[in-house]
Amino acid sequence: MMRKLYASFIYFLLYIPIVILIIYSFNASKYSIAWKGFTLEWYYKLLQNDSLIEATLNTLHIAFTSAFSATLIGALGAIALYRFDFFGKKFLHSLIYILIMSPEIVMGISLLMLFIFITMPLGFWTLFIAHVTFSVPFVIVTVLARMSGFDLSIIEAAKDLGASEWIIFKSIILPNIIPALIAGFLLSFTLSLDDVIISFFVTGPDYEILPLKIYSMVRLGVKPEINALSAVMFVFTLFMVILSQILIKEKK
């Protein structure tokens, strides 16, 4: 009984702000907390805001391209990390885990310094590089978790029977890790969509993205449009996370 009560209390704390945010995104009253009736006005206003639409398109563009590249680099790397021993493997492994723990602000300023040193203009490409970099470790961990317990002797057997590396990859490894690939892609997509701190440092003035746009709007106070926008982002994340979790949990 106490257990259920306490667990419910924590769930309540975790969700109540988001639930209230979503409810208020439909409230006709602009400033007060009193309920003045249901409206879709704020969502409608979002659709009419051109700079917001542009920032959304930029965000989706970055999220899609960086998640795709991170999944490619991360998955290929994870398979090789799992199958082979090579010089520097331990270093690479440590680097991956350190990157997951590493404070975002440190990654943000370190990349900013790199880009300025090599005089790379801040904008799409710098954001792309940064997002791939912080997503890759998560893809690797997801794929490695899927591969753990994978019997390498199957690969040996296939080799003895004359299968090429490509056949082994295509017919044995790939079908086994497809769920982890999709999950890794979805998690990278979510990370990219939600990142504030790292993007804050590596984006340029001409390339606006949604989280930073929301950040600058929020600093000016609460607006019903931000409620609506945040609600949309939450529901989007919710969908992606549930899908990725189903794929991760799926029976091997």
Partner: protein, 285 residues
């Protein structure tokens, strides 16, 4: 394990290694390097080796910022730990049937934008917000509490945003515990209290340290929480580093603070690996 790599595997590893070395390892070396340089008038860096940036951290003015930020981070870590531990324990010992679903509802906020979750708190905490409305209605208070733009708001914001980051690692470590150990202790007459202090908590120590790392470091760095809820500037190390880089253009000084964060991270990773090694050693005895 296979030692002979095909060309395909070689390309895969090279691609990954290239990416991580150029865009993760090298930039951090750059920060380390810059933390020993001087600030230039026109250039970002003056190649002139010095320890002055680290000495400057000990300056009373800056030191009080760091101290304040550490205070916030420690209180946030302890608060999330106190809330998260019993919850993670309940989750890890819940019946298998519901566990995945219960866990999913923690994973969702874990991945949800921290900015959105921070923003969502404003409607609750502001003077004419829901918390005050509720407390006034109950009669608990007569005048609304001023929470927004105070340090309390920052504590609440950090605790709320980072709670899932404490729950998940602790959950993972408790779930791994062989519950037969606890059963055995119970049969031998151990009280519930000593079952916890002698078995469960020591065995979940790696999870506690991992969770504390995932809460402590961001609570030093997440400047947008301090900005949005705290109002005051320079409240935490993250906002300090941001200002050094973007406002004052003092890269070396900002870098030295960033190196301090990296140093704390390595220390916590060291604690974690010691705690895990300790446990695997004990379990093989």
């Amino acid at each position: 394990m296979n030692k002979k790599m095909g060309i395909f595997a070689k390309i895969s590893i090279s691609l990954l290694a290239f990416w991580l070395i150029i865009f993760a390892f090298l930039p951090n070396i750059l920060v380390l390097f810059s933390s020993f340089m001087s600030k230039g008038e026109t250039e970002f860096l003056l190649f002139d080796f010095t320890f002055s940036n680290y000495v400057k951290i000990a300056d009373t003015l800056y030191f009080s910022i760091f101290l304040g930020s550490f205070k916030i981070a420690i209180i946030t870590t302890v608060t999330t730990l106190v809330f998260a531990y019993p919850f993670a324990f309940i989750l890890a010992t819940a019946s298998k049937k519901y566990r995945a679903l219960l866990l999913l509802f923690v994973i969702i906020p874990f991945w949800t934008s921290s900015l959105v979750r921070t923003y969502a708190l404003i409607a609750i905490l502001k003077t004419k917000g829901l918390l005050n409305a509720l407390l006034l209605w109950i009669g608990f208070i007569d005048t609304p509490l001023e929470i927004m733009y105070t340090q309390s708001a920052v504590y609440i914001g950090m605790t709320y945003t980072l709670l899932p980051f404490m729950i998940l690692p602790i959950y993972a470590s408790i779930e791994k515990i062989d519950m037969r150990l606890v059963e055995a202790a119970k049969d031998l007459g151990a009280s519930t209290f000593s079952q916890f202090t002698k078995i469960i908590i020591p065995l979940s120590l790696p999870g506690i340290i991992a969770g504390s790392t995932l809460v402590f470091l961001p609570s030093l760095g997440m400047f947008f929480i301090a900005d949005i809820l705290g109002g005051a500037k320079d409240l935490i190390i993250g906002s300090f580093i941001r200002n050094q880089f973007l406002t004052f253009r003092d890269w070396p000084f900002g870098s030295s603070a960033a190196i301090m964060l990296t140093f704390i991270m390595f220390f916590m990773i060291y604690l974690y690996s010691r705690a895990s090694a300790n446990i695997s050693q004990k379990s093989t005895l």
